[in-house]
Amino acid sequence: MKKILGLALGILTAIGGFVDIGDMVTNAVVGSRFGLALAWVVPIGVIGICVFAQMSGRVAAVSGRATFEIIRERLGARAGIANLAASFLINLLTLAAEIGGVALALQLASSIAPALWIPVAGFAVWLVVWRVKFSILENVTGMVGLTLIVFAVAVFLLHPNWSDLLTQTLHPRVPRSEAPATYWYYAIGLFGAAMTPYEVFFFSSGAVEEKWSAKDLGQSRVNVLVGFPLGGALSIAIAACAAIVLLPGGIKVTSLSQVVMLVASAGGKLAVAFVLVGIVAATFGAALETTLSSGYTLAQFLGWSWGKFRRPAEAARFHLTMIVCLIIGMGVLATGVDPIAVTEFSVVFSAIALPLTYLPILIVANDPQYMGKYVNGRITNGFGVIYLVIILVASIAAIPLMIISGAGA
């Protein structure tokens, strides 16, 4: 049991990246518009985030330095602050969206308007961040979030034409109704969703919170290799459900309730109960992940004392940052903005900001002063460089594609 709970950090991190509120809807949108023709992006993203998170986890375990301390130190103040501004803003938007997501999910379960759930959700997130031990926080949300596996079950219950799905996956084609630019825009969105920087901030800071050391490297590797592929599989399962149910009828996904309907049509009430519990846990987990990441990034960049392993009074500015961010997040939601639209933009912006976060980690993971004998091996560096190129291409292509495709319209 302890072994299984030891995986919670990886699972929670991955849930926050792959099946948070924006991704659940985006995956269903992609499935309903392109079938599984974009499924190939997910494994590329999964391998990328595995390489990235494993490097940052290893750096954190061996040197005790979390990601943003390294970003500041390697990029210097000027490029560092550009990265901080971008990462912090994306993270803040995502935080707002996740609280909105919790509210939307609770609305589906209770029929009480989301506006009334937002303060409750925000307060609950703060209470957990303030008082609940890190290991309990990650275990509960990570394990309960696993009920989202119901999406994978639903794929089987829907009795799809398997050869059809396989053809869509292995011979991806842009549907006639869609422009190529839109296809590639969503490809970058899915890649950005897989490799969101806050996953890495959370994972590496979580490694410090859990006091990992060089002897926990095996655990770090298992966390990464179980958590992220699982998250990726869930996101493909959501797209597959949408492809099976909605693609033939040409129905477009616009809301979370349609995502729940996919499961309802496959497994009835029981499946809906599972999926609602899963969505609440996943969005709540993602809200915790982004709230903590807001504190981690700012505190690490400015050299403040941080971490849930300290008394709040001993990490005062860290806790104050999170309180302020939660209040701003709720303020953003109070304007009536659609949380799902917010995350769709934020994943594309993540892809743009990614190189500035990725490169310092790649460099430090090769620095023997930090890593001693645990520097990157040849294989990791091979993957590391390949992904540096992919990340750069995605980053450069994101804005033009966004403009040409009208943000995926």
């Binding site: 602050i81 008082r131 050299g303 004392s305 008394r311 709040p312 005062a316 806790h319």
Partner: protein
Amino acid sequence: MTRRKRTILIDAELHLLDRQVLDVDEVPIIVVSEVELSDIEFDKPIPPNASAPTITALLSGPVLVTRIFGGKPPRSRLHTIDWKVVSKIGIVISLRVKGSTLDVTWGERWISEHVIQRIPGGKNDPH
């Protein structure tokens, strides 16, 4: 580094600037913004046989804005950590004193005393 027999070569920009400073209990204190040197008079030619300047203090303050847009903050806005209390330079800079005894941590103390400790549970141990 005269205390040690073995000398190490340190690049101020690479090994000091933007490095994390930890106190004696490994609590993060600040990130180094500037380094203060001794013995050089500004704008005057340096005599050929003058002794090399030494580091007298690590400085920290609101330098982010000025690093981007140029200029520098007034010296009075920068907090000083005396070079004498530095115990080790590695991937972080370690001090031999507690952070709470330094001026530079006043912001952390102020927020802790006036905000965080007033919220119920703020002083509790992280079980």
